[in-house]
Each structure stands twice: as structure tokens, then as C-alpha cells.
Amino acid sequence: MANITFITTDGTSTTVSGNSGSVMELARDHSIEGILGNCGGVCSCATCHVHVAPEDVRKTGEASEIERDMLELDDNADEYSRLCCQIVVSDAIDGVVLRVAE
């Protein structure tokens, strides 16, 4: 079980828990504003962009090559950016804080 905190662009913080699937699916199931996942979670649309809190990057790991490339589509991307359809929900990411990108 992992607790994950999303901070949406209006500053609202929401903590939800899950134990499987992707972070994008978790966000969708809890109606987190700004996470769309238009391609259904296959790293093709870049509409599930989050910034991982710097101290949590060791838990989430870094973006893969294709993910980094796709993030280039978004001018707001930085070194903490991830497409959260590519982050698997598991105990390993318990406690992470993700800021939904503009």
C-alpha cells in the first residue's frame, strides 16, 4: 500500500492510497485535476505530467528515455518531471509528493 500526495495547480493537496496500477490511473480514479492520461497510459500523449518532490526522486526513479523525450513537448518540464502513467504504484513509492504540472 502506498500513500501518494498530489498537489494540483490551485495548491490543493490530496493524499490517496493504492497498491497497483500506475500513478496516472490512481490519479484518474480519484479525479485529481490536471491529470488526463488521454492515451490511456502508454506514454504517447504527455497529459499526465507531474513534478516529483526532489527528495522523492530516489523512490520514483528517473524518467526513461522515451518519457524524457515526450516531456520535451511540454515547456514546463524540468529535471523532476515524470509522466505518471510510467510510475508503478507499489510500497516503494509510499509517501511521495507529486505536483501536477501547469
Partner: protein
Amino acid sequence: MAESPEEHVCLIVGASHAGVGCAFELRRQGWTGGIVLIDRDPQLPYHRPPLSKTYLTSEEGSYHNPLRAVDNYEREGIELRLGVSVASIDRDRSLIVLDNGEELAYDKLVLATGARPLIPPFPGLESARHVFSLRTAADVAGIRAALSEDHGKRVVVIGGGYIGLETAASLRKLGAEVTVLEREERVLARVTTPGMSAFFEQLHADHGVKILTGKTVSGFQTNATHTIVRCADGDELVADVIVIGVGIRVNVELAQRAGLEVSNGICVNGSARTSDENIYAIGDCTYHHNPRYDRFVRLESVQNAVDQGKVAAAALVGKVAIYDAIPWFWSDQYDVKLQIVGLSEGHDRAVVRKEVGEAPKFSIWYFAGDTLLAVDAVNNAKAYVIGTKFIQSGALIDRDKLADPTVPLRPANLVR
């Protein structure tokens, strides 16, 4: 017509990528009135692209990849009417009639009716068993059930378009013996260039899928255990399961019977409005002008459904919105990801760029004169992204450098 905006009702026919996206965007844009989404499919609206990809091969028994969580509709005050069909539109009275006879009044109406599979009237079709098309979750459930039954796993896929090929790849992963019958001389003939078709034909051959091109199916003959698929050239294939993926028919009938302008789809202007100022149309069902490519198109993609839905939502709340997005698309087969940006039709030159290395990683860049029209990228998101930016900016590209894999794929290296 209602007096205050709170009493206005927007009815949306079709609750899939276009309709659902439009409903939520309407709220975001400040529509305060009612929003009702109607769909004949009884399932909570779901993603379609995975149907032919991960869903076919997934372990889960029933399909669960909803576009939005059910609570989200409630929270946004979007009413879902699932499992009901819209039978007709009465424009004079501003209402729609459901198949159960119920009438629903609208102030604004959005048609997001998409498309349905084209099923040619093959002789013998009625008596053939285990024949499927692939558009809905129910279709996939049927294919999965047929394959898990204790008979053979010989699958004939009719049609070598994206859906046919993705289905072939997925069923192959499940251990089926798959043959694809394509009428044209190459697969993907309608949607891509010969080089890309050849790549995918080889990819499927490498995975043990038999692709037969130039094959026109002339009919089926079904006996106690299986069906014979007959081709016009006399060839015969034995099939336990048949998947028909030969294209779609656009759901224009509602619009047509209501007297809206229809040609290769429901005709809409740049704001997604039909020939009736209170009726909009979005997604697969529309025929619209793309200003960037200056031509009329009908697109079948998630991008088009979502982006055109957003434009309609903005227009519905009275904002000025013009649909001018650059089209994009993807297809996943085996471990190959194809990403396409732009429209390649009308190109006079194609530059192929092959990256150095073992795995297939390449891109095809389509130009008309100096203008970059489109990029097909295989396992190469970088090319896809750079292509997108170049098409957006209209940058002039040095084609010799582009074709040279020793020149790193970076915008600064490629502009003239």
C-alpha cells in the same frame, strides 16, 4: 429556450473520447447549465486504443480503463445516460428522441457519434461462428471468450490496417496462429507509405504472423468445427475465429436525417459547429477543415476527438475558438511504438533517418518543397517530438543533416 444560463442544457450524443472530453471541458470553461452525456454502450466510458493492444492480452477478465472515474461525473454535475440510443433529432422543437420514446430538450446539442465497424456483406457471414469486429469492450470480451474456448486458435484477421495489425500482434502474443488478409498490395495502404508498410510486414513475419496481401475475401463457409474463409483468387483459410477490421462507417445518420450538412462526415466549421448554430459535432464523425494543411479531413484519432471537443466546449460558452491542432497518432505492435505527427498526404519527398544501433529505431520525414508535413517515428519519441516542434514553428530543415545518423538528433543541428 431557457432564460438563465443555469437552466440551459447541453446534450452530448456519444460518450467516448470526444463526448466525455467535451463535457468536462465545458464545465472547466464555465458552462453552468446541465450537461447530459448519452451513449448506447452500457459501460462506463472507456479508452478505445487499448482494446486492440493491452486489453486483448491482459489478465483481467473485464475491461477497466475508464476515461474518468464515475465520481468525477457526479462531482462535475455531468449526467450519464448509458445503454440508451438516440433515435432522432427534432430541430424544430430543439429536442432529441431516445429509442425508448423519451424526449430530451436541448439548448445546445453536440454530436460525438464516432464511427462503427464496416462489415462487408460477405456471403456466408450469417452462419459463420466467432466472427468479430473490434470497436467496443464487448467486442474484445467476445474475442477473448472465443479464444479461451476449447477449440482451435486459428485466427484470420481480415484487413491490414492499424486495428487489424494490432489485433494480430496481440493475438499472436496469446499464442494464436494468425493470418492477416489484406486486399491491397501492402498493409496500411490507406494510411502510410510503402516503406512503413514494408517495415510492419517484416515485423509481423518475424513474429510468426502470416500476412497475405492482394487477397480479396469472397465468402465464408462454416462446418461443424470451423469456418473456411475463401478468397477471390481461390485461396482458402481455416479459421476458428475471424476478426474483421476493414475500416469504419461514420455515424452520420442522425445528423443526416435531421437535415444537417453531411459529406465525408458531419460538416463542421472551425469552431466545430454544424450547419445548425445550436448543434456542434466533434471527433471521428466530423468532416472539417484543417487550416495548417489547408484541406478538409476526417480523422480517426484520440487527438482529434479530444482537441476538437475542447474547441467545441469553448465555442459553446461563447468564446472564440478555432480548431487548428497538428494531428498526431500512435500505434503499438509487439515492442514497436509508431508515433505519427502531421499529415503526410501530398508530400513530394521523404527523408529516412535510421539511428545507429541494433533495435529498429528510425523516422521518416515527409516534405512538400521545404515544408515539413509529417513525421513517422518508430521507437523514436525524440524524432516525434522534434518533428512536432518543427511543424509548429515551420523551421527550415537541412535534409542532408537530417538523413545523417552521425549528426545527433537535436533541433539546433538540423535547422538551416
